[in-house]
Symmetry: C2
C-alpha cells in the first residue's frame, strides 16, 4: 500500500503569540502513530479567513489526510467551518445533526440555545458530523481534492476524546488500515538514558529491530517506551520487556505511568504496613508525594518536618550532644532522626534525610548537595551519604525519590544495591 501523507493545520492567534504552547499536535501525532501514520508537515496560522482558506486548499492537494485543529467555537474568531466551505466552494448551511447536538447539550446544562451557539451548527453542505461528548462544538469531516479532512476542537480534553473515540476508528475504516501500533512503558529511577542504552547494547546485541526503544526524561525518573508496529512484534514484545526489566532490576519503579510514591504505596498496602518520614532538607516533600496518592491513609499516619536542629530534638528526640558533635548533616543524626520518628509514629518503616539543599549553608567539608539518608525499621537501619550538586529544586526531588526508593527496596528485601549508591556516593 502507498504510504499515506498526513498534514495538520492549527488555527489560533494564541498559538502564534506565544501565550499558549501547542500540546494538541503532539497528541494528534501520537494517536495517528497508532495507525502507523506519520505527520510530515504542520502549519499554524492566525484566525484569518483568507489565510485559512488558502492553507486548506493548498494542504488538501498535498496530503491524503488533513486534520484541522481549533476554530470551531461560537465566537467571531472561530472560522474553520467558513474557511473550509470557501476552500471547497460549498455553501454553509445549518446542519441538522449539529443543531440537534447543540439542543441536547444546552438542555442538559439548562442553558438557553443562543445565536452564538447556533453558529456552531452552520457547516459546509454535505459534511459528516463527528460527535463531541464534552463540548458544544461538533467536529466534521469531508473530502476535498481526494484529501480526507477532519476538523477538531482546540480544547485539549475535547480533542482527545473526539480523536480517540471517533476519528482514529473513522480513519482506519475510510483508509482500510490494518496496521496497529502498540506501546508498552515503564518507569526507572537511578539510571541515566545513556547508561541504559549501553547496558542494552552489551547485553542484547540482538535486540529486535521491530521493537523500538525510546526514553523520556521525567526528572528524577526516566520513562522507557517499547514501541512495535506489527502483530509479530506485538507478540514478541512481552519476552523482551521481561528481559529488559530483569536487566534493570529494582531500578524499575513500576510498569505503566506509575510514580515512585505510587509504587511504594502498593508495596506497603499489599503487606498492610505503614511508613513514616523524618524530613529536614526535603521539608515535607516525601510526605506530600505519598499523600498525593489516593489510598495513602492506609499506609501513612505521620510525617515529621524537622527543619531546625531544635525541632530534631523536640519532635523526634535527636540528642543535642549528637547535633553538636557531628552536625545536623551526619550519619549519626539521621540515625537518631529515624529511630525517633519510628518511636513516635509507631510506623513499621521509615526514612530520615538531612542535607544541604543550598544555595547557601554549604562548607568545604559539607558542601551544598550533600545529603545523609537513613532508612529501614527498628533494629535494622541502613544509611548512605550522597552528593547531588543539582540545584535546590532538583536536589530536593532527587533526595525524596531516593528515600522512597531505598525504603521500598528494604521492604522488598532486595539485596543488590542501586547504582546511584555508588555513582552518587559522597566521598
Amino acid at each position: 500500500m502507498k504510504k499515506l501523507t498526513v498534514e495538520l493545520l492549527l488555527t489560533g492567534n494564541e498559538l502564534l503569540s506565544g501565550d499558549v504552547i501547542d500540546s494538541n499536535s503532539a497528541f494528534i501525532a501520537q494517536q495517528l502513530g497508532l495507525l502507523g501514520l506519520e505527520v510530515t508537515r504542520r502549519v499554524t496560522v492566525k484566525d484569518d479567513l483568507d489565510m485559512l482558506s488558502a492553507e486548506i486548499a493548498h494542504q488538501s492537494k498535498r496530503a491524503d489526510i488533513l486534520i484541522i485543529n481549533g476554530g470551531l467555537g461560537p465566537t467571531v474568531d472561530d472560522m474553520t467551518a467558513h474557511a473550509l466551505a470557501n476552500a471547497a466552494n460549498l455553501p454553509i448551511t445549518c446542519h441538522k445533526d449539529a443543531i440537534e447536538h447543540l439542543e441536547t447539550w444546552c438542555k442538559k446544562r439548562n442553558y438557553e440555545l443562543n445565536d452564538a451557539n447556533k453558529k456552531q451548527a452552520m457547516l459546509p453542505q454535505g459534511c459528516r458530523i463527528i460527535a463531541n461528548e464534552l463540548g458544544s462544538a461538533v467536529g466534521f469531516s469531508l473530502v476535498l481534492n481526494d484529501c480526507l479532512i477532519y476538523t477538531t476542537p482546540g480544547v485539549p480534553r475535547e480533542l482527545k476524546t473526539m480523536l480517540r473515540d471517533e476519528i482514529i476508528d473513522d480513519i482506519r475504516q475510510e483508509k482500510h488500515i490494518e496496521h496497529t501500533t502498540d506501546v508498552s512503558r515503564f518507569q526507572v529511577f537511578g539510571l541515566g538514558e545513556s547508561t541504559i542504552q549501553e547496558m542494552v547494547n552489551l547485553k542484547f546485541p540482538n535486540w529486535p529491530q521491530d521493537i523500538e526503544l525510546g526514553f523520556r526524561a521525567a526528572m528524577p525518573t526516566l520513562e522507557i517506551k517499547l514501541t512495535s508496529h506489527q502483530q509479530s512484534a506485538h507478540d514478541n514484545k512481552p519476552v523482551w520487556m521481561k528481559k529488559l526489566t530483569d536487566l534493570l532490576g529494582a531500578h524499575v519503579v513500576g510498569l505503566g505511568k506509575t510514580s515512585m510514591a505510587q509504587s511504594l504505596l502498593e508495596v506497603l498496602s499489599e503487606r498492610n504496613k505503614t511508613v513514616t518520614f523524618a524530613e529536614s532538607c526535603t521539608g515535607g516533600l516525601m510526605a506530600s508525594q505519598l499523600t498525593a496518592m489516593p489510598g495513602s491513609s492506609a499506609v501513612f499516619e505521620a510525617g515529621f518536618v524537622t527543619y531546625s536542629n531544635k525541632m530534631k530534638s523536640m519532635m523526634i528526640d535527636v540528642s543535642e550532644q549528637t547535633l553538636i558533635e557531628h552536625g545536623a548533616v551526619s550519619r549519626e543524626v539521621v540515625l537518631e532522626m529515624l529511630s525517633g520518628a519510628l518511636n513516635k509514629s509507631d510506623a513499621d518503616y521509615g526514612v530520615a534525610v538531612s542535607g544541604i539543599a543550598g544555595p547557601s549553608g554549604g562548607s568545604e567539608e559539607k558542601p551544598v548537595g550533600l545529603v545523609w539518608i537513613a532508612w529501614g525499621e527498628h533494629n535494622n537501619i541502613q544509611t548512605c551519604a550522597l552528593y547531588l550538586p543539582l540545584g535546590r529544586t532538583y536536589f530536593q526531588q532527587y533526595v525524596a525519590s531516593a528515600g522512597l526508593d531505598l525504603i521500598k527496596r528494604h521492604i522488598l528485601a532486595i539485596e543488590e544495591a542501586p547504582v546511584y549508591l555508588e555513582s552518587r556516593k559522597a566521598v
Copy 2:
C-alpha cells in the same frame, strides 16, 4: 511604516512525531512581540532536504522576516544550512568565523574537532554568523527574496540566549524598529479571570486601550499581565498598575513571577517571625512549598504531618474526646491541631488543615472537598470551612495556597476577608 510580516519555520522529526512539544516558537513569538512584531504563520516540517528547501523558498516570498529553528547540529538529520543554500541557489562553503568558533569551543572543552563538528561550519556562501555562546552550532543570517532570514539552534537554552542577546537587536537595527514592548505582571490568588475582568470593567470603564490586560491561569494562582507597546503607555502604566492592584487588594500575591510561598517567606523574614503547619489532608504540601524556597530555614523550623487521628493526638495533643465528638474534619479539631503545633514548635504563627481530599472518605454530612482551616497565633486563632470539590490534586493545591494566604493576611493584619471565604464557603 508598513507592518512587517513574520513567519517561522521549524524542522525536526521529533516535533512532528509528538515526542517533543514545541516550546521554542512560543519563546520566539514573545521575544518578537517586544519589537511589536507578530508571527502570522508557522510551518513545521520533517528533516527532509527537499521539503525544507521548498518551504524556505515559499516563505521567503511571503514574509519580511523568517526565523528558522532547528537543524544546525552535526548529524545527517541537520540540514538547515544545505536547504537554505539550495533555496537561495548559493554554494556551501567553509565559513571562516564559524570554523574559528568551533575551534575555540572545542579547545575550551578539551574536545578534538572532528569531521561531524566541522560540518557545522559549512554554510551558504556570504551569510553572516550569529554567535552561539552555549553550543557548537552558530546561527547565521542572509537575505533572500527581500526576506531577512535567521537560522537558530533547536536546543532551547541555546536558542533563548542567541535570540535575546543577538537576533532581537539585529532585527531592530536591520529593520530600523523603534518600537518597544513592556510587560508588567503580578500574581493573584482567590479571584477568577472573569471576576477580575468584571471588576475592571465596572471600576475602570476608561481603562486605557494601549495597556492590554492579559490573564494566565497557573492553578491555583492567576497571573495578570499588563502589556504596553509605546513610550506614552509605558509611562502611564505604573499608575494603572497601582489602581488595579489596589482594587484587587490582598488577593494580590505579589509582583513579578513570585509564588504564594515566596510571598509568605518575605513577610515572615521582614518581621523575623516563624511559622508552623499542622497538615492532615495536604500531607506536607504547605511545608514542602515553603521549604522549596531558599532562605526558608530562617522562618520555618517544624511541620507536623498528622495524617491519622492517632497522630493528631500523639504529635500535637488533639484530645481523643474532641476527635470522637466532632470527627477529624471539624472546627474543634483544627483549633486543637493549631494550638498543639504552636505549643510544640514554638513558632509565632501557624496553619492547621483537615479535610477530605477524596476520592473516597466522604459522607453526606462531610463530602469529599470539605476542609476546615485554622490559622493565627496563640490567643488569636481564626477558622473557616471551605467546600472545594476539585479533585484530589487540585483540592490539595488549593487548600495549601489558601492556608499560606490566610496566615499571610493575618500577619499583615488585613481586615478585609478574601472573596473565596464567602464564594467557596462550606454550608
